[in-house]
């Protein structure tokens, strides 16, 4: 990675940091409130992401490609889809935490359809989130939403596989 590339990648972040530091030292109220929002998100990210990537890294070196290919690869059928759904519902955290996992699964031979089903289920049907949803919006709302959403994601997975092709691979995210 060259210095120029680092500068380009972080250009906006540096600009934002200057704005925040300026706001804090000049007591500029909008800046201070934006900083309060930012630190809340940052805290969530910084506690969650290192753990996530640690697991992804370990997963990468320990789980052999053949295993993933066999269970959720091209020939895995409905069983593979069920595996992916189970995996996704058991997780927690924001959607951007699912992208690296999607990369890894893709890299290890998961089918395109299953990767997109994984992303969808992760975004909408994580069990920790569902318990929270039941608490605020009730069991009926949550059940209806889950029931209607699942087939939608399976259809999206099938369409995406047709659209990008079966050889599509998720990138490493650089």
């Amino acid at each position: 990675m060259t210095n120029k590339k680092v500068l380009r990648d972080y250009f906006w972040v540096v600009l934002f940091a200057i704005f925040i530091i300026g706001s804090l030292s000049l007591s500029f109220d909008p800046g201070i409130r934006i900083y309060a929002n930012f630190s809340q998100f940052f805290l969530e990210m910084i506690t969650f992401l290192p753990l996530m990537f640690l697991l992804v890294g370990l997963f990468d070196v320990w789980i052999p490609k053949e295993k993933i290919e066999k269970h959720i690869g091209r020939e895995s059928g409905i069983g593979g889809t069920l595996w992916v759904i189970l995996l996704a519902t058991l997780q927690a955290g924001p959607l951007y935490g699912a992208f690296p996992v999607a990369y890894l699964l893709s890299h290890k031979g998961a089918s395109v359809r299953n990767i997109f089903i994984y992303l969808g289920v992760f975004s909408a049907m994580k069990i920790p989130m569902l318990t929270f949803e039941i608490g605020f919006l009730g069991l009926k709302f949550t059940l209806l939403r889950t029931l209607f959403t699942l087939p939608v994601f399976i259809i999206i997975g099938i369409i995406m596989e047709k659209y990008v092709g079966r050889d599509f691979k998720v990138e490493a995210g650089r």
């Binding site: 930012f38 370990l58 605020f136 995406m160």
Partner: protein, 156 residues
């Protein structure tokens, strides 16, 4: 969160016990992936912070509470797609909306688009999936979210 920490520590210890070198290789790969993602992530977080300042919760309640019918659903879908609100804020917010008399359809569309569509996180998604696949995924999710939201409104 506590479960995640515990689970990670156990995995790490087991991995270390079985094979030190392999464990370090895994940690290195994880760290590299995290560093790659970091600039895009910080950019999005800063954008979201600014967005939340410009469009505070009170304004969302006002926006969604004012209109019903097709217009209400359209506003809910637009706000839900663009906004990036964590679940611990969005569900209580939805409850407030319902208490204010906003229809189930509007609230459901707001929640489903919020969960399924991420306009602000698109820059991160591009990096992993490319523009073509990321945009298509969000368009399909948007349509799906509309259908699910309207169905919930009909059945509840």
């Amino acid at each position: 969160m506590l479960i995640l920490i515990l689970f990670t520590v156990i995995c790490l210890l087991v991995s270390l016990a079985v094979d030190r070198n392999k464990t370090f290789e895994g940690l290195k790969r994880g760290a590299r992936m995290l560093l790659n993602l970091l600039p895009a992530l910080l950019t999005v977080l800063s954008l979201v912070s600014i967005f939340l300042y410009l469009v505070p919760e009170g304004m969302i309640v006002k926006l969604l509470g004012a209109k019903s019918g097709v217009m209400g659903v359209a506003i809910a879908a637009a706000v839900g797609s663009i906004a990036l609100i964590p679940a611990f804020i969005s569900f209580p917010l939805a409850k407030i909306l319902l208490a204010k008399g906003v229809s189930y359809t509007v609230v459901a569309v707001f929640i489903t688009t919020l969960i399924m569509v991420g306009v602000l996180t698109l820059p991160i998604e591009f990096k992993y999936f490319g523009k073509k696949a990321a945009i298509m995924r969000n368009v399909l999710s948007f349509l799906g979210a509309l259908v699910v939201g309207i169905l919930i409104g009909l059945f509840i």
